[in-house]
Amino acid sequence: MRAFRYHRPADVAEAVAVLAAEPQAAYLGGGTNLVDLMKLGVQRPDVLVDVTRLPLDTVEELPDGGLRIGATVRNSDLAAHPVVRRDYPVLARALLAAASGQLRNMATTGGNLLQRTRCVYFQDTGKACNKREPGSGCAALHGQNRDLAVLDWSEQCVATHPSDLAVALAALDTVVEVHGSDGARDIPIADLYRSPGTHPERETTLARGALITAVRVPPLPAARRSTYLKVRDRASFAFAAGSVAAVLDLDGDVVRDVRLAYGAVAHRPWRAYRAEEELRGRPFSPELAARAADAELAEARPLRHNGFKLPLTRAITVRALTELASS
């Protein structure tokens, strides 16, 4: 591991200033991903700016009924928060389906959104990876790509985004609050992540050195009827083979509103707008849910080893929505 200087900033402005002055500095949150990647030699920062003691660790109820979640709120605290459990079960369920009890005690909200892909070729410095080393190629495209993308991938990168929380936040139209050297701004989560295209090393639209300080979840009364369904190779402590975040609002049996997002299918948390469109205004049935999923996945291009993700994603869409409809 490369030697690094350690810096504990007094406030957000100082944190941002250090990143602006040090081209190879990185923010350190809970460390559950970054420390591992430093051990693997995948990330090699020469300065760590520890943001975990900044005063960004509160969950506030907003006057409009939404929720503002500080960037350093730990995953376990957020999952246990009474308002999250009552008003946004999809968030609590996504958090609880992720990692292990110890890791959830460490991992932060901001860090969770910015964690790196678990593509094994990205994590192995002996393999070609355009994301880790632009121009080196993609060993995953024709390699062991069972865990990788079926939607929106490019010849340069077939990685998936590993977060569960980000999938739930995508379904809820969350706004990400960011501080950079040019001040503060809001980024809708739909605009935070990038498709891999020809520059898979650029994963988000954040300027270098920008710091996520909070996320704002808009009020959505329908989210009281929401869930997160995740399928894994083993019962617990594994990344998703497929996952779905779902919010369902019924008027009688007619779908008044619905929010759907998929995990484990693309380089970004995948908001299923096309499936939502199929569902809205129609009487709910499991068959309708299956048709909606098929519409969303119509443009999928499975790789050699991950064709199973299409029927799997369809099946969990049907199961999640049917459960919500009957709850």
Partner: protein
């Protein structure tokens, strides 16, 4: 592959820190290369070899300790980041000549074979039982609005971050169940 010259570079002051941390109730002060994990600090600098290095990547749980009362994986924490904080390791779960109820239950239920994962299992179970007493839900909790009863399914899910290569799982579940009810 990950070793090489970088790891033997002479440490200069810019890349090291003076760290004060309370361990098992005693304040300890050490000067460390910033790359030193909390796990290596405990084992190599403070002579506390209870916490074990299994995978060193946060996957096996054998390094689990309590940080400010919460269970964490000490292999993924740089010690410099815990300056001023409080750590409890397996050595601190009970006095030197006594067993905590959890430790006694592990013995009574034969909840280990080789014992390598046991310090992590014990610290994890200690932290987990505190989480349960605070009413925290888990992935298998059906109703998020009420505190979960500690069924075997709940114990298994909540202990999923600790692997046991000897597969003593049924006995670990039994031990944790007994400790929870005592």
């Amino acid at each position: 592959m990950q070793g090489g010259p970088e790891n033997t570079t002479t440490i200069d002051e810019r890349h090291s820190s003076r760290v004060t941390v309370e361990v098992n109730g005693v304040s300890r002060e050490v000067t460390l290369d910033n790359r030193t994990t909390l796990l290596d600090t405990l084992r190599e600098h403070l002579d506390l070899t209870g916490a074990k290095k299994g995978c060193d990547h946060g996957q096996c749980g054998s390094c689990t300790v309590l940080l400010d009362g919460r269970r964490v994986k000490s292999c993924l924490i740089f010690a410099v980041t815990v300056d001023g904080r409080s750590v409890v390791t397996v050595e601190g779960l009970a006095g030197p000549d006594e067993l905590s109820p959890l430790q006694a239950a592990f013995i009574a239920h034969d909840a280990f074979q080789c014992g390598y994962c046991t310090p992590g299992q014990l610290c994890s179970a200690r932290g987990m039982l505190d989480e349960v007493s605070r009413g925290w839900p888990s992935a298998v909790t059906g109703d998020l609005s009420t505190p979960a009863a500690l069924t075997d399914a709940e114990i298994r899910e909540r202990m999923a971050g600790n692997l046991c290569r000897c597969a003593a799982y049924p006995h670990i579940v039994a031990a944790v169940r007994e400790a929870a009810s005592s």
